[in-house]
Subunit: 321 residues, 5 copies
């Protein structure tokens, strides 16, 4: 599906433009044209070449499956690859590639699945002319700004997941605790791997002047860089937290099991003296004076009890139990 907007100062906003109209606009080099390709079919994708005449490599990056975030300068336009983040069911990280062509008087966005930030900016454009009036670079800045802001719910989700894990750590971790933790660790690894090249790409844009971003607007892109830098820092912090939870978890688990083992061994050790005493008085020697003593039986039972209690007291004293 194609959505298109054209704004020229003093004139009303056009939308839903035809191909010939787009072509005409590109010739005039005035106003600002924004065309969004939202999961386009093959015929619609052709417009990238036929109307905009984009380089085949950039077009291939759009229609092929996955590309890394980057900024390529093709003289006539700047080609940006960014990744939108969202949470699929069960908290799996979902990445959608967003390709942006930034020309002097046009912006082309291309994505195969709905991207929330595009939807948001589209709504603003419909409501107010200001956004289309600021030039192509600030339109792109707005899209990127929303894109990066939409990372925050993802980060919040992970944050709460980690808090969850931390809470369960002390009490009774469920059976799949470790796999949950490991899955989270891998998700955060992927998050960092998604954020870091985007951060570097935007950094590159702020340091290397391109004709497509006006010098006075570079600060806006630097602002996006700051956001990405902070998000990466947060992701790093999550990673550190998870690593530390993992270490405590392993230590707790081994403590707990060792504890049980210790108690078991104590239970196996305690009856031993009683067994010996009973065995001794079960011997068949002819001359065993105790056997004939009227209190022999009670005495032997008492001895067993005494030794068992004595052992318990000693273990307590030695802090074994």
């Amino acid at each position: 599906m194609l959505t298109s907007f054209y704004y020229q100062k003093g004139k009303p906003l056009e939308s839903g433009l035809t191909r010939p109209r787009m072509f005409e606009i590109l010739q005039q080099k005035e106003g600002l044209l924004w065309v969004d390709f939202d999961n386009p079919d093959e015929f619609e994708s052709d417009a990238l070449v036929e109307i905009f005449n984009f380089h085949d490599l950039a077009v291939e990056d759009c229609v092929s499956d996955v590309s890394s975030p980057k900024a390529d300068d093709y003289e006539e336009y700047l080609f940006l690859v960014m990744h939108a983040l969202s949470l699929a069911e069960e908290g799996k990280l979902k990445t959608v590639e967003l390709d942006i062509f930034l020309g002097k008087n046009y912006v082309v966005t291309f994505h195969k699945e709905p991207v929330k930030s595009i939807q948001q900016v589209r709504d603003i454009v419909k409501r107010s002319e200001t956004m289309m009036n600021q030039g192509s670079d600030l339109l792109v800045h707005n899209i990127l700004d929303h894109l990066v802001d939409n990372y925050l719910p993802v980060l919040d989700y992970y944050d709460s997941q980690i808090d969850n894990l931390e809470e369960h750590l002390v009490n009774d971790p469920p059976k799949d605790y470790l796999s949950t933790l490991m899955q989270l660790k891998r998700d955060i690894f992927n998050l960092r791997r998604t954020v870091s090249p985007q951060r570097d790409t935007i950094y590159f844009l702020t340091r290397n002047p391109t004709p497509f971003i006006k010098p006075k607007n570079v600060a806006y892109f630097r602002d996006i860089y700051d956001h990405l830098f902070r998000i990466y820092g947060m992701a790093e912090g999550y990673h550190e937290n998870l690593t530390s939870i993992l270490q405590v978890y392993f230590s707790f688990q081994s403590h707990k099991l060792n504890d049980i083992m210790k108690r078991m061994t104590i239970l196996a050790t305690l009856p031993m003296p009683s067994v010996i005493i009973a065995s001794i008085y079960g011997m068949n020697f002819r001359h065993m004076p105790e056997l004939n003593h009227p209190y022999g039986y009670l005495g032997s039972l008492g001895l067993m009890a005494l030794i068992s209690v004595g052992m318990l007291v000693w273990m307590k004293f030695k802090k074994w139990i």
Copy 2:
């Protein structure tokens, strides 16, 4: 709350300036104006735009929640984001963002919670005119100098915490030893993450000349860099120490438990020969000559004692106990 000072050579220090007066001063470009925004309400915050006309991105950085330390050059002024550190209750690390606008003849500081170094410099300004007489760059240097000096109590606290942990390590570590250690490790991770971008920001200022810092004063900022560099090094050392304590702790814990297990096993092994002997003489064979021997009973008891002592001696000799 707004606090403002204005000093012009030869004239007395003005304070508590009105908005029109501030506006007037900014036009004159003489003397030195310092306005401190201490947890300002919305109306007060407006002054950032209305009077100083600061860039909306910088203003957004001020009023929004968290920004990373950085130095942005907006032609008319330099925008610095720094972080003050203090200890909240229970030794949790607390970070307060301090935003600084450094212009030719004015300094604007902005923070949402009280910052100790601002309070300190404010007190000095009230007591003596010297500080306001040295120019805007040295005023900022003074604020930063106090800011960084206020890191030291935090570091000292962590230092003593680590010493504490180390002391408890050998004797009897309390039950929450590991969680305390892990919490400390994470606090120090956060400390390093707070210090390192500030260090880099100040480094950047000392290496890239800006019109807002006079060349002869760059050395003062280099001095702050040196402080931050050393603080970061100290934090790194703490991290190393904690890692090493952790390893020793794990090793000690496993040693201790294994020790108990060993003793338990010994206790379970020692009675075995006695049990066998007693069982043998409990057998009902008709022809067991020892049973009729007058010293059979005593002899069997003696044998049990002998073997048990022999085993103890052997274990001692083999260094098992």
Copy 3:
């Protein structure tokens, strides 16, 4: 074996050229000559020196066993060393060195074992003249593009292997699970070590202009760099996954064994009370009233059962079993 093609605009494609014809073509400096050395014998290898007059160091790199990926600029031509990847039996990674000489109007490829991408481009050249018509740099780009695309089946294989491992993790890991994992980890280490210098080599080509790649075609090589960058990222992700599987595996193994140990200890602990009771009533004291009681025997058996069941209940309650 030598395969050669020569194309000059407007003339039909020549193939299977003789040495004198090659020599003649090199003098004319027109059209495009491609000679592929596929596991050449010594006589054929001589052509590198005798006809093309390549530097002895480059020739040595070709005929010697292994060289690292690199790009050397020898004024008259660019010498590229790349590595083709494929899977040998049992999923072992197989690397074949592909040496490429890129001149103004000729391309020489040299390899000791069949390289799939060479075969693919050779087939295209035979089918259509377009490829030979685009210049030497785009011919090389095409070879590299196929080379890098042929990495993907290798990556897919590893991906499925890791999925396999992950699946077996929860159920019943076979005996050689760990060695398989370790072998995979090492293969992926080798993969990364193969990809990373190639990525850097191509990056070097895109950043440093050479007369052998036309400026407008640099974007094509940047595209190959993007591919290699993404492949390296994928390999890094595999490495991270394997590390995480390894940690979970170790934790699962130790859990399982500890579990068995715990059950065993319980089994050794449970009979103890019964043994004591039986031993007590096996004592030979003259005065043991229970022995004469008509329900003494049944009572003692009942007591044994009671205590055993009680212990089981208690252990269940304490979550030991």
Copy 4:
């Protein structure tokens, strides 16, 4: 305490100069003046400002507690902070800060505790005029050269400590083995942290020409850099060795304890068959033919012995013992 020397070509060496004489020399800008501040009192420290007029930041670095190694260029002189290393009692690493001001015709050294290399160069200066005749840069080189040479005994000490640890590893590691190792590891961490900024500081001096080091003398400072580079490499090697010793230690410890556990379990298993046999013949069944057999008793003893020996042989065969 202040020690001062002044040398002018053709004139005898002056020492113990008064403040007015120093001031006079500084005006003349001829010859070479060396003033050493050895743990100066407050009055003596004042000379830094009053006579030499050094920048207050540099003076603060001198009198304050600790500064990181660095080289600051203050137009009129170069300010160097270096650290001398020595061993305090019990092998603790001791660091003393040495501050050096290198001017065109003077050298000022400042330290709060005795520094061996200063003492050594002072002795040479007293014995021969050559050193003071070579210019201020070579005097500083000589001080630094001795400073770095004095690192070697420290390294040798650590080397022998590591050898010690390695020797004890195989035999019988004493109880504080692990803490010694950990302490050593931390000392070497500190050593590396002390050496690395000094190495970088000297590297900086050799790469960035300063007017205070004559170009032909840069090689001498490069030589000090080489020494520091090698020392850092050695410290890295020590770190690696300790890490490897630690791993072997943990493995040995667990081996040893597991060994004891294994033997204990064997000791607990071996008597079991004998206990069963004896218990069986202790049963009170009326019809037990063996009980009346004249060799029943001996036979049962023999059976016990046979089974025990058989078990031992089997365990030996299975390599369990």
Copy 5:
């Protein structure tokens, strides 16, 4: 011992030159002089200063014990420190420092122990004039080329050692397995530490033009860099392999021991029911009907056997054994 060669075009090779002859040659600045100092005595070492007038720092690097690999440019000549590698007894890595002075028309090599590559080049020089005819830079290249080629047997030795370790891993690792592995790991650490500065030194030479290497010959030094780069990569691979072997080894060891423990516990658990049964029928109750039953004895034995077999079957079913 000094070995010297002098070659001038068209004249026969001179060897064993006297000091005055060397001095004379150095004045003429024609032809190529090579002097090799093989473990020279003090008198011979003097020639470095007296004849060649080398800088005292370079001479000190030669005669002192150890220097790091580096390339120092002393205007009149280039001073190179390289390290030859060989295997001492028991596979210990042995490093011999080789110092090279590369002048316009002379090469001086200095080493305290025999260096194989020097011997090899010396033999070639004696056999053919070509080598001395190519200029001083290519003579040095030849020495370095042989030096680096002589690394390969060392690498091969480590490779076979690692294969050895891997083979023993599965079967029966000998008692010193771990120490061998750790020693190997440390040797390879040292190998990497030796190779990496040499690689960087040669890289530096190829990137920074020096007047002592003709531009057209830089490619030869780049070739040596490629070799060192590959060797370093191999050493990195060895390190990775050893780390992975170590992890598998620890896992195997713990598996094996746990296995034994498990079997032992089973052996201790199995007899328990028999002991209980026998103890029960050893009780002295008056009313125990089974005792008078004619098959009581056999029945009890049968019960013991039945329970033991049942337990075994159950354990097999539960996969405990």
